[in-house]
Amino acid sequence: MAAADGTLADLCIVACSEAFRGNGEIIATGVGPIPRLAAGLAKLTHSPELMMTDGEAFLVEQPVPLGPRKYDDRKKAGYLPFSRFFDSAVWTGRRHAMVTPTQIDRYGQINLSQLGGTHQQPKTQMLGVRGFPGNTIYHPNSFFFPSHTTRVFVEKEVDMVSGVGYNPAKRIAGGNFSGVDLRTIVTNLCVLDFGGPDHSIRLVSLHPDVSIDEVLQSTGFPLSTGQTSETPLPTAEQIEIIQKLDPLNIRATVIKDNPPARRG
């Protein structure tokens, strides 16, 4: 019964939602469909104390669904515009963001600014560092990657360090790095964390029917592997909540070919 097990996207949403468990009264920010649905699922199931926005400027106690809706459909419970986002959420450490950078390296350093070339003339200009330098030095961060490859999990350091990692060479003497707190990485293949020696990246669980070798071959650097389990399948109750938060099934567009949770 593949359908009853949900899709790989559903499984990833549930795995991502675990990153927000027990975080307390902080802003849970999920950027992109799967992280955002994960934050909503966490709030509607195990962690109702989480706070979140409507994606614009208002805090909501009922996560807003993905996709087109009426502008005033969301019920405003509070106010958190960009104009006070750093004062209230980022620089106070009261936030946990889950995002999808373009590259990540063995130190957890991330890049979404540019690829190749030089800073004066990049080969490919992307978004810019956005708020990543501040996010990563002040509050917890997790990552979701829909396509786990060596192009994303790069062999050397990322092309432009846009987010702080655990690279000792980047630790300026006297700087306060106590807020650096990288938590969970969920991909289309597995769940990882930073629990290896010296915060190195460690394999936590493999998605159903995925082998360790497949993960290692898709990663440009060595991973800590020890006791690994199988990532749990989504439950019927979780799938029902996800469907309500994503009535148009936008999550089906995230992972190539939208495979089932079990490869079968």
Binding site: F82, F86, Q125, L127, R130, P133, I137, R171, G175
Partner: protein
């Protein structure tokens, strides 16, 4: 001293000079003073240092070769994540940049507003920003001895901002869910030029109940001009949303050969009235739905 700050957009641009540092309010494709940007596009101004949470304002000024240096944290059109004209300019190595985190950026505006040389922050430590931007560190003189980035003041020669309402004295009112860092652009600048959707004579006679929407005071306003739909194609909540059709045409025009001079007339037009007619007129713009995020 006259308090009548009404000016034409041409007079505002005449108050700018080559080589100036120009702050542009708004955020990505939201609340951008695009009518004022288009007036700069029609001028001979060049070698500008542009400080912006960037959208099509940055893309256009880069495409036209008016930008010497860009101070930015991102340049994006939201639903079109990568601003295509900015991208072309960067990949051709045409502009100098100071790349900053979004929070450092507003911190630099605040340092400028308060007349400080810098404000300390942890942000930037552990990333490539400090080295690439030649940002210096400073050590706490207190017992903690913490080493911090000294975020330099982002002093602006002029700021451009589009607001919902103003009177001729520069008493502005800003509405919408989020007014971003417009107030700090105004305070960081030597001169602030404001365009507005609606100009009234004495705002206290018309909208006294909206005085809380006066997010920056009139001492920070140099000139005002009324330009309905002046943020188009960016959004101006609560009046109108971003014109994604117009943004798509603008983005498509960047594809090969992607020659700005061949398409500039479409996106700049000869004046504000001609521009508004070319995009369907006031009613059409006012009917563009607000963005759902």
């Amino acid at each position: 001293m006259t308090l009548d700050k009404r000016m034409t957009t041409q007079e505002m641009v005449a108050g700018l000079q080559d080589g100036m540092t120009l702050g542009i309010g708004g955020w990505g494709p939201r609340r951008k003073p695009m009518a004022l940007v288009r007036e700069i596009m029609r001028s001979n101004l060049r070698d500008l240092t542009v400080v912006s949470y960037g959208g099509a304002d940055v893309g256009m000024l880069c495409a036209a070769g008016k930008v010497k240096k860009l101070v930015f944290a991102f340049v994006s059109l939201d639903a079109i994540p990568l601003e295509p004209w900015f991208r072309k300019s960067r990949e051709a190595g045409q502009i100098e940049v100071l790349e900053l985190d979004e929070g450092m950026f507003q911190w630099g505006l605040k340092a400028a507003a308060f007349g400080l040389p810098f404000l300390p922050t942890r942000v930037g430590l552990g990333t490539d920003l400090a080295e690439l931007g030649d940002l210096k560190t400073v050590q706490s003189p207190y017992a903690d001895r913490e080493v911090l980035i000294a975020m330099p003041a982002l002093r602006l020669d002029a700021a451009l901002i589009h607001v919902n309402r103003s009177d001729w004295r520069g008493n502005v009112q800003l509405f919408g869910a989020d007014t971003y860092y417009d107030e700090w652009f105004a305070k960081a600048a030597s001169k602030t030029f404001v365009s507005c959707e609606q100009l009234v004579d004495r705002i206290e006679d018309h909208y006294p109940d909206d005085a809380h929407a006066n997010t920056f005071e009139r001492c920070f306003v140099t000139g005002v001009t009324e330009i309905p739909c002046g943020a188009h194609p960016s959004s101006m909540p609560p009046l109108y949303g971003p014109d994604m059709k117009a943004f798509k045409a603008y983005a498509d025009a960047a594809r090969e050969p992607g020659d700005w001079s061949a398409v500039a007339d479409i996106f700049v037009a000869s004046d504000a009235d001609a521009y508004l007619s070319s995009v369907g007129g006031r009613e059409a713009v006012m009917n563009i739905p607000l963005a759902i995020y």
